[in-house]
Point group: C2
Chain length 215, copies 2
């Protein structure tokens, strides 16, 4: 998956090109950002997505009304980024973040086959919360029809990961400046029942998610 | 700031166009995503940024080697998105996320004036962690010279915010399906001293950040 566009040049040691590393980052994040060119201008929008094997799925309607106007395949760039900590170096120049990120390039194809579309929507739901698909009311014809789904094959893709403490200029280590890391994490809180669910047992998928994410 | 590109069409009630709302979202997030067109293709990358008044600042070198090749002003789209919760509806179609997001469009200008550049880098550092700028070793000539800084005026910009419980199809409320929200938040943990700072008092800026963010 390493080529001219995806090769991480700036700090090569942070670049990763193996599926295991890349897919772990894609699976851990909640949303991605998609960029595409619309009437000559770059457009970036946040959206949810799912991954199955070497494909990313997303739906056009939630993504953007602009993407909704696209009837053909469309060139996109996709990014996923999670911040794991603030890196406080002795200089601004070396101050940084700890993070896990993936950037992919490619042509997103509109999914037309109905069962492929349904499976894609399942992957998107399951990406956000595993096993929820079985709990909800099945998708109906009308919903399937009005939802545009795209898929992107993960060919041109790479990950960048930074971990650990600051790397300062040698001379700066003598300075009396505290340096280190403020670790950050995403916390999933107790599921809150909506006004119609007060008497129902909380979704097993929701309970499992909060348990899994917070351990 | 409302025009054809920024008008939030899909669910109009979620759109916001006032500075107060938009800037609060921009100030709360840690990273943004930038999109630009490079050799005809869309490119999206995550990067840090700062805001002062009606301008967003970011630096090209951290952003991307591709942006580094840009010597002129460049058309960009910028997005900031924070996920506040998973919204579990009774159908996949209405399942969603609670979130705060901002999308901006415009032409990013290269900052050439040295003192403007230094101030921009201060804003970027201060955006990540307030009052850190005073604690660190001042920026030097060489660092200023090799860092490309861009600014984007916040003209064409809008926010989208979703809060609250799921909105289901009326007929679906009768179903015996638990629905609700799993709230999410970013937790900032105790600052960890690096190997050269073990005997120094922890940065006041770091302590204030974790206190402020976690309350």
């Amino acid at each position: 998956m390493k080529n001219s566009k995806t090769t991480v040049k700036r700090i090569a040691a942070r670049g990763h090109y193996d599926k295991e590393t890349i897919y772990a980052v894609l699976d851990a994040a909640c949303i991605c950002h998609l960029a595409f060119v619309y009437e000559g201008y770059p457009v970036v929008i946040p959206t949810i997505y799912g991954r199955e094997d070497d494909y990313i799925y997303f739906h056009g309607s939630s993504a953007s009304r602009m993407l909704k106007t696209v009837d053909d395949d469309i060139s996109i760039s996709l990014s996923v980024a999670m911040v794991d900590g603030i890196v406080l170096a002795r200089s601004g120049f070396h101050s940084s973040l700890n993070y896990r990120s993936v950037v992919a390039f490619g042509v997103a194809e509109k999914v037309v086959d109905t069962s492929e579309k349904e499976n894609a929507l399942k992957q998107i739901t399951e990406h956000i919360i595993k096993d929820r698909w079985e709990e909800i009311r099945p998708i109906n014809e009308k919903e399937l029809q009005i939802t545009d789904v795209f898929k992107l094959k993960l060919d041109e893709v790479s990950a960048k990961i930074r971990t650990g403490e600051p790397k300062d200029e040698l001379a700066d280590y003598k300075l009396n400046i505290w340096s280190g890391v403020i670790p950050m994490k995403t916390t999933y809180m107790e599921p809150e029942s909506d006004s119609h669910s007060k008497d129902l047992p909380v979704s097993k998928a929701a309970l499992r998610l909060t348990e899994r994410k917070n351990k």
